[in-house]
């Protein structure tokens, strides 16, 4: 169940990352004058609601699956998305309004927002990745509750029987383990793992 939640979040997050990148590319196109404001805004407005839904779904999912920390992490961003959507004046054509996007530095602030979102989603992405991998890695285990240090103390993930997991998803972690990760980094990892892996009893 846990794995399903995180794998789903992972995929959702991927989509959100792609969406953010798309936003950034389109906005910078506008900045560089490759497309005009009208088409830029109509392109972007199409994706505002999917983005909003995608993010809300993750947030709700985390709430339902009682991952408090991740839920709280997502909450402000999701709230902002919804707020932004609701607060669009009735006369505007959407969150991105072609008549205003060049005014008052709106383009820049949209750009900044898209950047921040990209960073946030990337962070979340690795978080979900880590969680899904760690959860998955524990699946074939004895069913003991997952202890952070155990995961870390594993000699090498390669030697472990890897469960059927999306290879792409595991790849980064594999690398980080196989390579000689410096001690302090591992320590960091362990801390993080503890935070992320904390499941309320």
């Amino acid at each position: 169940m846990e794995a399903v939640v995180f794998v789903f979040s992972l995929l959702d997050c991927c989509a959100l990352i792609f969406l953010s990148v798309y936003f950034i590319i389109t906005l910078s196109d506008l900045e560089c004058d490759y497309i005009n404001a009208r088409s830029c805004c109509s392109k972007l407005n199409k994706w505002v609601i999917p983005e909003l839904i995608g993010h809300t779904v993750i947030t709700v999912l985390m709430l339902v699956s009682l991952h408090w920390f991740i839920f709280l992490l997502n909450l402000p961003a999701a709230t902002w998305n919804i707020y932004r959507f609701i607060m669009v004046p009735s006369g505007n054509m959407g969150v991105f309004d072609p008549t205003e996007i060049h005014n008052r530095g709106q383009l820049k602030s949209h750009m900044k927002e898209a950047m921040i979102k990209l960073g946030f989603h990337l962070l979340c992405f690795f978080m979900y990745l880590y969680r899904s991998c760690s959860v998955a890695s524990l699946l074939p285990g004895s069913g003991r509750p997952c202890a952070p240090h155990q995961v870390l103390c594993l000699p090498s993930p390669v030697s472990r029987p890897l469960p059927v997991m999306s290879g792409a998803g595991c790849a980064p972690r594999e690398r980080s383990y196989r390579g000689e990760t410096p001690i302090f980094l591992r320590e960091c990892w362990s801390r993080w793992h503890w935070v992320l892996g904390w499941v309320p009893a």
Partner: protein, 1246 residues
């Protein structure tokens, strides 16, 4: 689903289209109708206009080639070199003005306003010298104006012009003629050196080293100063006014095309059009008469032109005339010649070493030289080869030249053919003289160098950037001096400029000056000042640009530009040339503020890239001399208009297309606007701007949409009704927009019938949205102008609106809601229209709430304009009816530009971030304007992104590319140059308070829509508080308890208070939502002059008008009463006062007003007999009546909305209207001026 079949038009067959089959019953099958065929659009015509501006746009303002720092200092130097040039050129327009039939009606060069305007703002310290300068500047006018009026010569001009290429299309002829004006002017400046040197001495020296100048050239200055007394400021207005009236008579050709040319073009295009229409003639059974007529009409004209062309004047000797020299004394002349020679020598001497600046460019230059002719700017492969147009230009010039040489009072006794061969004997003296004054740059043209700084004590170069220049710097130390004095640093020399005089606001009782406030003149050197753009077209809130954003933030003043780019100009240089010279990297048009590095290269003043001067540009058609690129009209005028080549179009220039969409619901018929509209249209049908391709169409709507088939050949207009408003379609797409000239009879029939067609209608609904959609469909193939007349809230179909206003909230002090649009329908529609080059103009004539906030969007984003007539009724409210009538006259006949784009560029380091006005911002600095009209103003906010430390001048350039109503693609370019300052005091010294207020008003409108009204009000108050406290902190020695403002900002609090009491922003006073929104719309799109009147009306006392200080306009004496402050304390019961609020005039008559006045001016025996509603002053044959009327007429002229006059008796209920404009007084809801000051003081002390 099908439509109703209802024939409403008397005896007109009516076609009721079902959803599809739409063939009109009459004999003209769609497609076979001549008009349509003729207008059939070429295949590429309907291209998506998105990339339409490709030629002009898409050039990122990349960093130019900042080759080396010395370049900059040189840049400064060269500026001076260039700018000293043209006293004479100012005259150009004047001579042009004398042309019969030319539009350039008044004799006032562009810099005149500067000259005049600068007087009040000039620094006390330098008053005497500046007045010298002014006179020297204005002096050349007089001889020219007087002596160039030899009208007989001009017809010859045009004919000569056309001789060269009779087969080319009309605009060549036109341009030649307009160019013909130049020669006469520029000849004087041909003898290269002299005028410059002379200019330079006065201008450069005056502020900095006054005494030196006095010593060395005493004779000089006297000689210069005496001829023409400094014109009094009002004369500026006089001229302007005169010009305007000229415009009016000429109606649609306001820009600069002589009317003779108009004819020519028309006929030309007409004849051009005939080949197209001929085939259709044979096809169409219906009347071909019109078309046959046209060639007939046109051919005689053409032939006469050709015939006349044989009268070409044989080329006269190239004898330059030198009016300035004629004023100066001979010895002076000699000296100057000598100097010039000296420069020349210097030039030769130093030409061996390559200038530093160019070394880095050398390689590139070589490459570029090869491509220069092709690539350096938009060179066209157009049909007319260059020599042709030059020929024409020259041809046009002879008569001018002759007349000038014949009539100029004292032509130079010894005209110099060329500066170079100056007799050797004079060499020694000049070289002595010149050394101090010339700082010759090696490869410069001799003429350049005379513009030099005075030699002071040779200040060693202080900044490292000069180091590379050492040899020159040592040789001509004046250079450093120059570059420092260039940046408008004369501030430092005058101890305390007037604009910085601290004013204690709370102590100063009469803060408002007696005379109208003049825009401050940028603190540039005189030559730049003269070249600078007129403040009427282009103003900046800070005429001294702060060096850094930090400094700007410290000053707490808004930085922005106020533009009026398409203003009716009475003189405008129109340039035809194959090559429009532009910077290769930032695409800036060449302008007076670029620097010529040498003969072959110029440095862009916006991005600092060094560009090649194309070969063509080397030749100056005005002086007919080669190698003087700096004397081309482009470089001599900051406002020019280019005739653009086909590079600047994505499709053939569109014809003028007008569509009228009229509300004919019960409400509209009741209001009765149709009568007025149809009447105006009938009267002005021939004056609609356009050429022979002009098309016109009509639609009416209530709950259904009615189209009118006006296809030529029908016996009567045909009405087609579409009742399917959910899915609108065009019944006969081809015959709804018809050629104005071919179907004129039908159009007239329709206009005569229209007012009575709907008299008995019971339909109360209004399907505005669907009608607009239909209009969009109708217009989208061509683009053009849609005029929408609406009288109520749209209640059917797409875009229907609900009433949002709560009447009880009208005077609420808290929240004013619904300032923004309720739906995005109109916005989307406007953007669609804008994409198809269609502008929607809205006339809202409603008595109830009609949600202007939503409706206005259709005009806001399609670059239309908005007119609002609250409680319009043609009988009950005659003043509104009259206003509509006058507005319509102006609206229908004023100039119009189609498919326009405007790009604003500014010096690297500055950036624009917010635009205000009616348009759609298509990309970061490109405004898409489907239509541009002369009454549209714009505002831009600026920020400083990079420090401007390495430049002393910044420039702004707006380029407006449009299609004229004659189907020409034209580019109007304005360039403004401003100094950069580094101290806070200088920033304050250069505040243009009116521009700042207008920009603030625009920002406040944005704020109140995006946030809330109270936010906007707070922001306005904070603007005053911040700027005054920031100023207070810079002036440390003054007591802090007092409210101190620099003199330049002394009106700031008053104006802000006026804004707070303006309809748009006031709270507490009952204001209808639509009124408020309309006021906001006006703030957004009115040009500065009109907006200022709206914000702060002018009050005059008119019962004692005298001729004292009166000005003369068109042989009429216009009295100039002093301004009164807007306070009831100024009103006396014995007086009569006129308040000029921009769109409305009030005449307030005091209770015990002099009976003589009432009788003489109002035509009533006493106060009691004056009627309550009086909107006209009778034409009485008394002196005081004449004075009053001429004063009011004078005020009325030159404004887009013709103001209506209300005579308000002291006791009438209408007086509240009048009194609410007395903004210095306390009202129940708002501060008085004094209270407001105290409030500000409190805030500052907090």
């Amino acid at each position: 689903v099908g439509g109703l079949v209802v024939g409403r038009l008397p005896s007109a067959q009516v076609m009721i289209p079902g959803v599809l089959g739409l063939s009109p019953t009459s004999g003209c099958p769609p497609g076979a109708c001549p008009a349509q065929n003729q207008m059939q659009i070429p295949s590429g015509y309907g291209l998506h206009p998105q990339n339409y501006i490709a030629p002009s746009g898409h050039y990122p303002q990349g960093p130019g080639k900042m080759t080396s720092l010395p370049l900059d200092s040189q840049c400064g130097d060269y500026y001076s070199g260039l700018y000293t040039v043209p006293t004479q050129n100012m005259v150009t327009p004047n001579t042009a003005n004398q042309q019969p039939g030319a539009q350039q009606m008044y004799g006032r060069g562009p810099p005149a306003p500067h000259i005049v305007g600068s007087t009040p703002g000039s620094f006390q310290g330098a008053t005497s010298s500046t007045s010298h300068l002014h006179t020297s500047a204005s002096q050349p006018y007089s001889p020219f104006v007087n002596h160039y009026s030899s009208p007989a010569m001009y017809p010859a001009n045009s004919s000569v012009a056309s001789q060269g290429f009779p087969s080319t299309c009309g605009h060549y002829a036109m341009s030649t003629v307009s160019n013909a004006a130049y020669p006469s002017v520029s000849y004087p400046s041909l003898p290269a050196g002299d005028p410059y040197g002379q200019q330079m001495f006065t201008s450069q020296n005056a502020p900095t080293v006054g005494p030196v100048r006095e010593d060395s050239f005493p004779g000089h200055s006297t000689a210069i100063s005496h001829p023409a007394p400094l014109p009094p400021p009002p004369s500026h207005q006089y001229h302007q006014q005169q010009g305007l009236s000229g415009c009016n008579t000429l109606s649609w050709s306001a820009s600069g095309l002589p009317s003779a040319q108009d004819n020519l073009t028309r006929n030309h295009t007409g004849s051009l059009a005939t080949p197209n229409s001929n085939p259709t003639n044979t096809d169409s059974l219906s009347c071909p008469v019109m078309q046959n007529v046209q060639p007939l009409k046109s051919s005689p004209v053409v032939s006469t032109v050709l015939g006349a062309s044989s009268t070409r004047v044989p080329p006269a000797a190239n004898r330059p005339v030198e009016p300035v020299a004629s004023v100066t004394q001979p010895s002076e002349l000699l000296q100057q010649k000598g100097m010039q020679y000296g420069d020349y020598v210097n030039n030769q001497a130093s030409s061996a070493p390559t200038p530093l600046s160019s070394t880095s460019d050398d390689e590139e230059e070589e490459e570029e030289d090869e491509e220069a002719g092709v690539d350096s700017s938009s060179t066209t492969s157009s049909a007319s080869p260059m020599p042709n147009s030059y020929d024409a230009l020259e041809g046009g010039s002879y008569p001018d030249m002759l007349s000038s040489s014949a009539s100029s009072p004292a032509p130079d006794p010894a005209p110099e053919p060329d500066p170079a061969p100056v007799p050797a004997p004079s060499a020694p003296q000049p070289s002595k003289m010149a050394k101090p004054f010339g700082y010759g740059y090696p490869t410069l043209q001799p003429g350049y160098q005379n513009a030099t700084a005075p030699l002071n004590s040779g200040v060693p170069p202080s900044s490292p950037m000069y180091s590379g220049f050492q040899p020159y710097a040592q040789q001509y130390p004046g250079m450093n001096q120059l570059s420092s004095s260039l940046g408008g640093l004369s501030l430092q020399s005058s101890p305390q400029p007037e604009s910085l005089r601290p004013v204690n606001l709370t102590q100063e009782r009469n803060i408002l000056p007696m005379a109208p406030v003049w825009p401050p003149v940028p603190n540039l050197n005189l030559d730049l000042k003269k070249l600078n753009c007129s403040p009427d077209s282009f103003r900046c809130t800070l005429t001294n640009i702060p060096q850094t954003q930090a400094l700007l933030n410290k000053a707490k003043l808004p930085l922005g530009l106020l533009l009026h780019p398409f203003r009716d100009l009475t003189q405008l240089p129109v340039i035809t040339s194959n090559t429009i010279v532009r910077c290769r990297s930032c695409r800036t048009y060449i302008n007076p503020f670029v620097s010529f590095i040498d003969q072959r290269r110029w440095k862009c003043n916006l991005c600092y890239r060094v560009n090649d001067v194309p070969e063509e540009f080397m030749y100056n058609p005005v002086t007919r001399s080669y190698g003087e690129p700096h004397k081309r009209p482009e470089v001599q005028n900051s406002t020019v208009e280019f005739i653009a080549s086909s590079d600047y179009m994505l499709r053939p220039p569109q014809p003028a297309v007008y569509l009228f969409v009229l509300d004919v619901s019960h409400n509209a018929v009741e209001a009765g606007y149709l009568t007025i509209l149809c009447q105006s249209l009938l009267e002005n049908l021939d004056k609609l701007p356009g050429d022979s391709r002009t098309r016109i169409g009509f639609m009416t709507f209530d709950s259904t949409i009615h189209f009118y088939n006006l296809q030529e050949g029908l016996s009567q207009p045909q009405m087609l009704i579409v009742s399917d408003i959910d899915d609108v379609f065009l019944p006969t797409p081809d015959s709804l927009l018809v050629n104005l000239y071919e179907s004129k009879e039908l159009i007239k029939d329709l206009l005569n019938a229209l007012p009575n067609m709907f008299t008995n209608t019971r339909e109360t609904h209004s399907a505005l949205g669907p009608a607009l959609q239909a209009a969009f469909k109708l217009m989208s193939p061509t683009g053009g102008r849609v005029s929408v007349f609406q009288t109520q809230l749209p209640s059917l179909g797409a875009g229907l609106l609900q009433s949002r206003e709560d009447p009880n909230q009208r005077s609420s002090t808290k929240v004013v809601q619904h300032l923004g649009p309720a739906t995005d329908f109109y916005k989307k529609l406007a953007l669609d229209c804008s994409g198809q080059q269609t502008a929607v103009d809205l006339f809202l004539l409603s008595s109830q709430y009609s949600d202007l906030a939503s409706l206005a969007c259709m005009s806001k984003y399609s670059a239309g304009c908005i007119y609002y007539y609250p409680s319009f009724h043609f009988t009950h409210n005659p003043s509104q009816a009259e206003k509509l009538q006058k507005d319509l006259k102006r609206y229908l006949t004023r100039k119009i530009g189609f498919e326009a784009v405007m790009r604003i560029r500014c010096t690297k380091g500055l950036s624009m971030h917010t635009f205000h006005g009616n348009f759609f911002v298509r990309s970061t600095d490109l405004l898409s304007l489907a239509n541009i009209n002369p009454d549209a103003g714009f505002a831009v906010q600026l920020s400083i992104e990079e420090n401007l430390t390495d430049t002393s001048l910044v420039c702004f350039q707006t380029a407006l590319l449009y299609t004229s109503s004659k189907g020409e693609r034209r580019i109007r370019v304005h360039t403004l140059c401003l100094p950069v300052v580094s101290s806070l005091a200088d920033v304050y010294a250069g505040v243009d308070v009116q521009a700042a207020i207008c920009l603030l008003a625009n920002m406040a409108v944005d704020r109140s829509i995006s946030s809330s009204l109270s936010d906007a009000r707070d922001a306005l108050v904070n603007a005053v508080v911040d700027s005054l406290s920031a100023y207070g902190s810079t002036v440390s020695n003054l007591q802090h308890s007092a409210l101190i403002a620099p003199s330049s900002l002394k009106l700031f609090p008053l104006y802000v208070l006026a804004l707070l009491k303006q309809k748009a922003f006031r709270t507490g006073t009952s204001t209808r939502l639509d009124d408020r929104v309309y006021a906001m719309c006006q703030i957004k799109c009115q040009p500065l002059v009109h907006l200022m009147k709206m914000i702060h009306p002018n009050l005059y006392r008119i019962d004692r008008l005298t001729d004292e200080g009166a000005i003369h306009v068109n042989d009429r004496v216009v009295p100039q009463p002093p301004l009164q402050k807007l306070s009831a304390e100024k009103l006396t019961r014995e007086g009569a006062f006129l308040m000029d609020c921009g769109s409305v005039f009030y005449i307030w008559i005091g209770k015990s007003c002099d009976n003589n006045f009432i009788e003489d001016v109002l035509g009533y025996p006493n106060f009691a007999s004056i009627p309550q509603k009086m909107t006209h002053l009778p034409e009485l044959d008394t002196l005081s009546s004449e004075r009053a009327r001429s004063f009011i007429t004078w005020l009325r002229d030159n404004r887009p909305l013709s103001p209506i006059l209300h005579v308000v008796k002291d006791e009438s209920p209408a007086k509240t209207e009048f009194f609410q404009h007395l903004i210095e007084d306390r009202t129940e809801a708002a501060f008085s001026y004094y209270e407001f000051l105290l409030h500000i003081q409190q805030q500052i002390c907090k």
